[in-house]
């Protein structure tokens, strides 16, 4: 698989790997994918009272582009409001990482992870 240097960089030096305290009310979690399909992403965000994402962490079971996509979105969502983060599209991710066509589903999964985390935050806070 011929990956771009950006994918390889994210795989070799993933940003923001880890977990946030899931019992902290300001933390929300999005988990998407399935092991049988070969990829599962967990994205966690910590949201300030002003609705700004202060921190983000990920863990991913998946191929190189799945790891790179989730690593990239943790960088992108930090500092954004929930509404701004919800605007991130899979096409932005695949364009930034120059994903090969067969790996586009990884960027879709990363977008789904952001949406799932935002949804979790909103449901936790009764919105």
């Amino acid at each position: 698989m011929a990956y771009s240097d950006k994918v390889i960089d994210h795989v070799e030096n993933p940003r923001n790997v880890g977990s946030l305290d899931k019992n902290d009310p300001s933390v929300a979690t999005g988990m998407v994918g399935a092991p049988a399909c070969g990829d599962v992403m967990k994205l966690q965000i910590k949201v300030s009272e002003q609705g700004v994402i202060e921190d983000a962490k990920f863990k991913t079971y998946g191929c190189g582009s799945a790891i790179a996509s989730s690593s990239l979105v943790t960088e992108w969502v930090k500092g954004k409001t929930l509404d701004e983060a919800a605007e991130i599209k899979n096409t932005d991710i695949s364009a930034e990482l120059e994903l090969p066509p067969v790996k586009i589903h990884c960027s879709i999964l990363a977008e789904d992870a952001i949406q799932a985390a935002i949804k979790d935050y909103k449901s936790k806070h009764g919105k």
Binding site: M1, I8, V11, P14, V17, S19, M31, V32, G33, A34, P35, A36, C37, G38, D39, V40, M41, K42, K59, T60, Y61, G62, C63, G64, A66, I67, V102, I104, H105, I108, L109, D112
Partner: protein, 405 residues
């Protein structure tokens, strides 16, 4: 030690320098370049002599008669010739063929083509260790079964099927028996005076010979028949036309001769490295699974699944070693290895498998480096894996409802 380390000998082997030397003598004006079919001059006779020697050396390794060796372009062609050739020759007797789900694609796809031509094919399941249950095979044999095709050594798992017993079962019922021996020649003793095998496929490049050359063993007594698939000048007793590639055949002959000479040495060397690799990896690591049947395997192939780590990311992490993965993560559908699936391994474990294959030129230093790299990479990737985290928290992943996409 040079990086990357080659641990993919089951995919192909480098040509042994002793083999390359002999091949180079068969190319140029000064060398043995003649057409072995030329009967009217010395150039042809010399080439024919070299071919005869190679045929003899190949027959020696497998205890066959040189007249039972038909040269082809490789094991894929040998499989095609044996299966299509025998099916077409014996089709008046019956139209049923038996093979196995874990066969190489060269057998599976050939059988699929015969199905399109009207033959009926039974694809046998294997047990969890990759071996056939011979009682089930026996039950699948019918009065109209004309051919059984079972590989000797599986290319992904290294397991050795009991072809001696299967041969007896076929002979009793007058069913032709084909064996794909691409992975077993030079690694398992093969005695075709004893084995009741009618056709056997061989490859040059799995045994430190060149690519682009193979052979099909076609038994003389009792005579096995097939219909040619390649027509032309009637070479190879009419079974496979085409000018014989002297340098390739000489290479394969030399490779098989060396495989016989060095059999014990190679076997001992590779067995020791196998033990070192398996002990190194399996010790102090949880959720690591050995695929196959350790006591019925060639030493050169080691297939291990690392739970909670995905195959492609693992291959990227260990790019300093050249290995194969059971995960074919190249399509959107992410199909894991059909061989591992046939063992009943779940998709996750099939996705996270690595096949290490060790060969004549592998060193202890390379194995030690590999063990260290694998252990570091697995622990790094598991730290990154949400599945590993859930496993550590005691969550049963089977009970989770995943959003399939």
């Amino acid at each position: 030690m040079k990086l990357p380390i080659y641990l993919d000998y089951a995919a192909t082997t480098p040509v042994d320098s002793r083999v390359a030397e002999e091949m180079m003598q068969c190319l140029t004006m000064e060398g043995n370049f003649g057409n072995p079919a030329s009967r009217s001059h010395r150039f042809g006779w010399q080439a024919e002599e070299a071919i005869d020697q190679a045929r003899h050396d190949i027959a020696e390794l497998i205890n066959a008669d040189p007249r039972e060796i038909v040269f082809t372009s490789g094991a894929t062609e040998s499989n095609n010739l044996a299966i299509k050739g025998a099916a077409n020759f014996y089709k008046k007797k019956g139209q049923h063929i038996i093979t196995v789900r874990t066969e190489h694609k060269a057998v599976i796809d050939t059988c699929r083509e015969l199905e399109r031509q009207g033959f009926e094919v039974t694809y046998m399941d294997v047990e969890a260790n990759g071996l056939l249950d011979l009682k089930k095979l026996e039950a699948a044999m019918r009065d109209d079964t004309i051919l059984v095709s079972v590989m000797h050594v599986n290319n992904e798992l290294g397991v050795i099927q009991d072809i001696a017993t299967i041969g007896e079962m076929c002979r009793e019922r007058k069913i032709m028996f084909h064996v794909d021996a691409a992975q077993s020649a030079g690694k398992v003793k093969i005695d075709l005076q004893e084995l009741k095998v009618d056709f056997m496929s061989f490859s040059g490049h799995k045994v430190y010979g060149p690519k682009g050359i193979g052979a099909l063993y076609v038994r003389r007594k009792p005579r096995a028949r097939l219909e040619a698939q390649m027509h032309g000048g009637g070479h190879e007793r009419g079974m496979r036309s085409g000018t014989l590639a002297t340098h390739q055949i000489v290479g394969m002959g030399a490779a098989f001769r060396i495989a016989k000479q060095d059999f014990d040495k190679d076997h001992a060397h590779i067995s020791a490295l196998r033990t070192r690799l398996i002990d190194g990896i399996m010790k102090d690591m949880d959720e690591v699974y050995f695929n196959g049947a350790p006591e019925h395997s060639v030493p050169g192939i080691v297939n291990i699944s690392f739970n909670f780590v995905e195959g492609e990311s693992l291959l990227m992490a260990v790019k300093d070693i050249a290995v194969s993965s059971g995960s074919a993560c190249t399509s959107a559908s992410l199909e894991p290895s059909y061989v591992l699936r046939a063992l009943g391994r779940n998709d996750e474990l099939a996705h996270s498998s690595i096949r290490f294959s060790i060969g004549r030129f592998t060193t202890e230093e390379e194995i030690d480096y590999t063990v260290k790299l694998i252990k570091e990479s697995i622990s790094r990737l598991r730290e990154m894996s949400p599945l590993w985290e859930m496993h550590q928290e005691g969550i049963d992943l089977e009970s989770v409802e995943w959003a399939h996409h």
